[in-house]
């Protein structure tokens, strides 16, 4: 053993200063040792020190191993004192952040060491005790009064829930979701992102074959009330007929259909988009013809809400908040209310409120995530009398996607029964319904609505005209909840054929059947307040004579007004018509869980935000808000996404990251639309100059112009890839200098075309572009069926010129389908194939695409240099503390240099790679619906037209797609779906 002991000691002493002596037994702590050793030790010490002194040449004596001749005591002692002080300090401080017992070798560790100090060797006990007393190692203790039972008590639970949803509002189905979903905090709400179970395919199957359920209650509803003409004139400034039907569309105005459009800042139509909305007009009331006051709901995504609301207020001149309706600070209110309840009521009563999470949010949630609870939520205009109110969170909205969503709806919901004997009324509950039942007209209307609802059973959701609205009043869905979860399937016996069904499929629901009591605020509130608590229902159920039989509540049963709105699936394009269609159901608040569970018990599968994204990708509709790059909220979303992706990127070790510079990807996390459109505009101008004067204006631009626009002038020289490679590598260097003059060129443009880019939403033009994109064989097929003028027109320079001039900086939303392998990713690049590529493709059917030559990382040295500089500086700083502080700190100018990412002033994005860049992908994945990679994205209109001009007829609309972290281009077919 002594041998080992010595070895250990030698190890211990290895890093100690020679001037310090440790006692061999290793006392409890250095401090104690110092005090213990006292006098005798000092002699020994001195001798040692003397020796060291000489070796360092401290004294002015000859540097030899002998003893110094003399010694000045005071500086010597001072130096020693400083040394000792430093040593003591070092000994008390732990350098690493390990615990004391972790410094022991394995064989000396004991199981309970971390919480029992006595298990440690005595010399370490002091330290361990000190460590255990530190606050960070102590367990967070819960307040004494809150044992688990107390915490789970309803009142405390509610208080806790209320506290937790102060910042991000919970939906009514939050607790259900939180148990099953990955939750994210977005747009001021807590939303389910994706289920925790493996269900990617299952969700796809649900939306393709059965029914997928989504909670869209976080969507915001803005209510406008006013005279029809006033509303229409105000709203007409925010939209344009060019981009499709507006608020004034006849079927929508009648209230029969839901409309959808993109709203713009007033009078700025092609630019200044604000965001997509859907809207429903309340049907005109037959009885009250005289009053032309109409009610309009505008539904929008919370990301766009603030912009749209502000614009609406400006357009309608609604500036004054209504005093009477200023929202109270209600966020704290539910808690207080429940507390007062507790004090008043005891025992049984208190327990009655025990349906917990369902009951609580019922309590007048006015403050939602997207606005300040202290602000008003209702505005009125003095001049026009229009009233705008913010009904966010007042109306719940669930979306059922899939062909069998009808079956789920019709099985889960039963139309409310009409009260026959009107004498025995229950004054507090359903008074509105009793009132309604007295009116024979209303009763017949209810029966008609019921008949329509019954008819739906035999239809699939895509058979109904898109956007059909059906109002209905239903009974309590909790009453006929099945015992087990089952899958609702259509019943062949209930298939009806005949005039009624045909009328429904052709014309949809008539306007008066779209009427619903949901439009009436008072009725909604009374329905919300008079909801029968879950527990009450259960206790009634338990009193049934035959357990499990149907519970007939009779007139006491709640009646809930709802609104059903058909959501069109895939309407654009050729294939899969009506894919992903479904129904939206609008409910009064408070009834969330009461409707949610019955749907799930009928076999609906629940999806989150990710499933919504996939749904919109498969049915090829722009996703909210990522596919609106010209809206302020869309830009903000893109910025946020960039930040997240960059953070994720930086979390990886540098050697394991993709070097995007080498891949030739300029912005892997963000699509530089602005730059793209600007560059295309510049290219366009350059090519025109080239045509006009036939003189090369600038060496750079002409070379680029040749690559893309050359063929239009009939002098295309097929460049060998080798030359391109050289070009690409040389461009890297050239472009760095070239950037400045190009940007200057753009600055001049900015003055002329005063605005930023916009997304093309003009229907006619889109249809024309769509026809241009089609390859010849599709056209011939089409012409046989229905020849159209659009198809016959060919994209030539003459026809394209006016388009390009009118929309110099427009983006077009396109869909891409990969021809062969490959699945596109987020922000993949859409490029123009060269003549060579197309030639190879036509020759070899298995040619899957060219490769991008590897770029050189010109910034690598800079990054390394910067890193070295930083290191030096940090060392320097350490030195500065002891030495003089004269060393001035060089301000790090480019501290955002990250290895593998292109720093900010971007070169010409279009010609950075060997293929000319056209646009970017905003969503992309392998599509289960289509069986190949699919993507949607935006391309520059100018670029697209240029490409179409040059492509041969048979290969129109073929583009190349390249993922940000890959060098492989893959062929894809580009289509514009209108």
């Amino acid at each position: 053993m002594p041998n080992a002991k010595e070895k250990k000691r030698a190890k211990k002493m290895k890093n100690q200063p020679t001037s310090v002596i440790f006692s061999s037994d290793g006392g409890p702590s250095p401090h104690a040792m110092w005090s213990q050793n006292g006098g005798e030790e000092t002699h020994q010490r001195k001798r040692q020190e003397l020796r060291s002194e000489t070796s360092r040449g401290y004294s002015h004596q000859s540097i030899s191993h002998g003893m110094p001749k003399y010694l000045t005591v005071s500086p010597f002692v001072r130096a020693r004192a400083a040394e000792i002080k430093a040593m003591l300090k070092a000994a008390t401080q732990k350098s690493s952040n390990t615990l004391v017992f972790q410094s022991l070798p394995r064989h000396m560790r004991r199981r309970a060491m971390s919480h029992n100090v006595k298990r440690l060797p005595r010399r370490l006990r002091e330290l361990a005790r000190a460590e255990a007393e530190k606050p960070e190692h102590q367990k967070k203790e819960l307040p004494k009064s809150k044992c688990r039972k107390a915490r789970r008590r309803h009142i405390n639970l509610v208080a806790e829930f209320n506290r937790r949803q102060k910042k991000n509002i919970w939906l009514e189905t939050h607790i259900w979701h939180a148990k099953r979903f990955h939750m994210v905090k977005k747009w001021g709400y807590c939303l389910g992102d994706r289920p925790t179970t493996k269900c990617y395919r299952a969700c796809y199957r649900a939306m393709a074959n059965h029914c997928l359920l989504q909670d869209l209650s976080y969507y915001c509803c803005l209510e406008l009330i006013g005279k029809e003409e006033e509303l229409l004139t105000a709203l007409a400034r925010m939209c344009n007929v060019d981009s499709g039907p507006t608020f004034a569309a006849v079927p929508c105005l009648a209230g029969r259909r839901q409309g959808a459009l993109t709203v713009y800042q007033r009078d700025r139509y092609p630019e200044g988009a604000l965001g997509p909305v859907t809207f429903i007009w309340k049907p005109r009331n037959e009885s009250a013809v005289g009053s032309a006051s109409r009610q309009l709901w505008i539904w929008t995504h919370p990301a766009f809400k603030q912009d749209i609301l502000a614009e609406l207020k400006a357009v309608c001149h609604c500036s004054e908040p209504m005093d009477s309706c200023i929202a109270k600070p209600v966020v704290t209110l539910p808690q207080e209310e429940s507390k007062t309840d507790i004090t008043e009521k005891v025992g049984q009563k208190r327990k009655q409120k025990d349906d917990g999470e369902i009951d609580v949010p019922v309590k007048k949630i006015i403050g939602d995530g997207t606005r300040d609870p202290h602000q008003s939520y209702r505005w009125i205009s003095q001049t026009s009398g229009i009233m705008i109110s913010d009904l966010t969170m007042e109306i719940l909205r669930y979306r059922l996607i899939g062909p069998l969503s009808h079956c789920v709806l019709t099985e889960a919901l039963k139309a409310a029964s009409v009260h026959s004997n009107l004498e025995t009324t229950y004054p507090e509950m359903n008074s509105w319904w009793v009132e309604n039942c007295r009116n024979p007209e209303q009763v017949s209307l209810h029966h008609r609505q019921e008949a329509f609802f019954e008819l739906l059973q035999g239809l699939s959701s895509s058979n109904i005209p898109s956007g059909t609205v059906l109002g209905l009043t239903v009974g309590d869905p909790r009453v006929n909840l099945p015992k087990k979860r089952s899958k609702a399937m259509p019943n062949p016996e209930k298939y009806q054929d005949g005039e009624k069904v045909r009328q429904l499929t052709l014309e949809g629901v008539s306007a008066e059947c779209a009427q619903s009591f949901l439009w009436d605020r008072n009725i909604c509130n009374s329905v919300t307040e008079n909801k029968m608590p879950e527990q009450h229902l259960n206790s009634l159920r338990s009193k049934l004579l035959i357990p499990g039989s149907y519970l007939d509540l009779g007139p006491q049963e709640s009646k809930i007004p709802i609104l059903l709105v058909q959501q069109p699936g895939k309407i654009a394009g050729e294939d899969r018509p009506g894919w992903g269609s479904g129904w939206d159901i609008y409910l009064p608040k408070g009834w969330g869980m009461a409707f949610w569970l019955p749907f799930i018990y009928r076999g609906a599968r629940v999806g989150g935000l990710q499933e919504g994204l996939k749904h919109s990708l498969y049915k090829r509709t722009p996703h909210v808000p990522s596919d609106y790059p010209d809206c302020p909220a869309g830009i903000q979303f893109a910025r946020e996404l960039e930040r997240n992706l960059l953070e994720k990127f930086k979390r990886r070790p540098p050697a394991k990251r993709a070097n995007y510079i080498k891949h030739g990807t300029l912005k892997p996390f963000f699509c530089p639309w602005e730059k793209l459109t600007l560059d295309w505009e510049a290219r366009n101008e350059a090519s025109h100059k080239y045509v006009d004067s036939s003189v090369l204006e600038s060496e750079d631009l002409a070379a680029e112009g040749e690559a893309s626009c050359g063929p239009s002038h009939g002098m295309f020289v097929p460049e060998s890839p080798r030359r391109k490679e050289m070009d690409a590598s040389s461009q890297n260097n050239v472009q760095m200098e070239g950037v400045t003059d190009v940007t200057e060129l753009h600055k001049g443009d900015e003055v002329i075309s005063n605005c930023t880019f916009c997304v093309l939403r003009r229907k006619k033009l889109l249809r024309q572009v769509s026809a241009w994109c089609q390859p010849a064989y599709v056209k011939t097929r089409k012409i046989r069926h229905h020849a159209s003028a659009l198809d016959q027109q060919e994209p030539t320079a003459d026809t394209l010129l006016p388009v390009v001039q009118r929309y110099p900086r427009a983006l077009v939303w396109v869909c891409l389908t990969l021809l062969k392998r490959g699945s596109p990713e987020l922000h993949a690049m859409i490029c123009i194939p060269s003549k060579d590529d197309l030639f190879q493709l036509s020759k070899d059917k298995h040619f899957f695409g060219p490769q991008e030559p590897k770029h050189s990382d010109v910034f690598k040295n800079k990054v390394l240099k910067q890193k070295a500089m930083k290191k030096r500086q940090s060392i320097g700083k350490g030195k500065q503390n002891s030495a003089s502080g004269t060393m001035n700190v060089i301000p790090t100018k480019q501290d955002d240099l990250v290895l593998g990412l292109w720093p900010d002033p971007l070169p010409d994005v279009t010609s950075h790679c060997s293929r000319v860049l056209l646009g970017f992908v905003t969503q992309g994945d392998f599509s289960l619906a289509f069986g190949c990679g699919e993507a949607v994205g935006f391309v520059s209109l100018t670029g697209l037209l240029h490409m179409l001009m040059d492509q041969p007829k048979e290969q129109k609309g073929l583009v190349l797609l390249r993922n940000p972290a890959s060098l492989q281009y893959r062929f894809a077919r580009l289509t514009v779906e209108v």
């Binding site: 007929v241 499709g244 039907p245 507006t246 004034a248 569309a249 006849v250 079927p251 259909r257 062909p403 035999g458 239809l459 699939s460 895509s462 058979n463 005209p465 898109s466 399937m489 259509p490 019943n491 062949p492 298939y495 045909r502 499929t505 052709l506 014309e507 309407i571 294939d575 018509p577 009506g578 229907k763 006619k764 033009l765 249809r767 024309q768 159209s788 003028a789 659009l790 027109q793 006016p802 388009v803 009118r806 209108v978």
Partner: protein, 132 residues
């Protein structure tokens, strides 16, 4: 573009809807023109093959074809019969399917319109002949 634009095709967008869908049994095969012929044939063969598990074991099969796919449906049925070695019997029925087209207006002033049109369809029952 708007001034000298192409003659407007129509102010309406024609949207064709899928036919009404009946609930589908396992033994119903809807033939389309997109899937490979071979794949559809082998699917039918698999369904007819004996054995309860793995997709087989259907006593009879219904092959439905609509419009352009009628030819293909007949083709599949005949192929099945030919390869079945006399063990299969066919029974064909024709019918008419009502299809709906909707014309959604592009502007504000029009009502949406819809029309029905008829298309022919064929339903071929393929069943095992009773053993003699």
């Amino acid at each position: 573009m708007a001034e000298a634009g192409p003659p407007t095709e129509a102010e309406r967008a024609l949207r064709r809807r899928l036919p009404r869908r009946l609930p589908r049994r396992r033994s119903d095969v809807y033939v389309n023109m997109k899937t490979d012929f071979k794949a559809q044939l082998s699917r039918c063969q698999k369904l007819l093959a004996p054995g309860a598990g793995g997709g087989g074991g259907c006593a009879e099969l219904c092959i439905h074809g609509l419009g352009l796919a009628i030819n293909r449906a007949i083709n599949i049925a005949l192929q099945l019969e030919a390869t079945g070695g006399g063990a299969l019997r066919l029974a064909a029925h024709t019918s008419t399917v009502e299809l709906a087209d909707a014309a959604e207006p592009e502007g504000d002033s029009d009502e949406p319109q819809a029309r029905t049109r008829n298309n022919s369809a064929i339903h071929i029952r393929v069943c095992r002949a009773a053993p003699h």
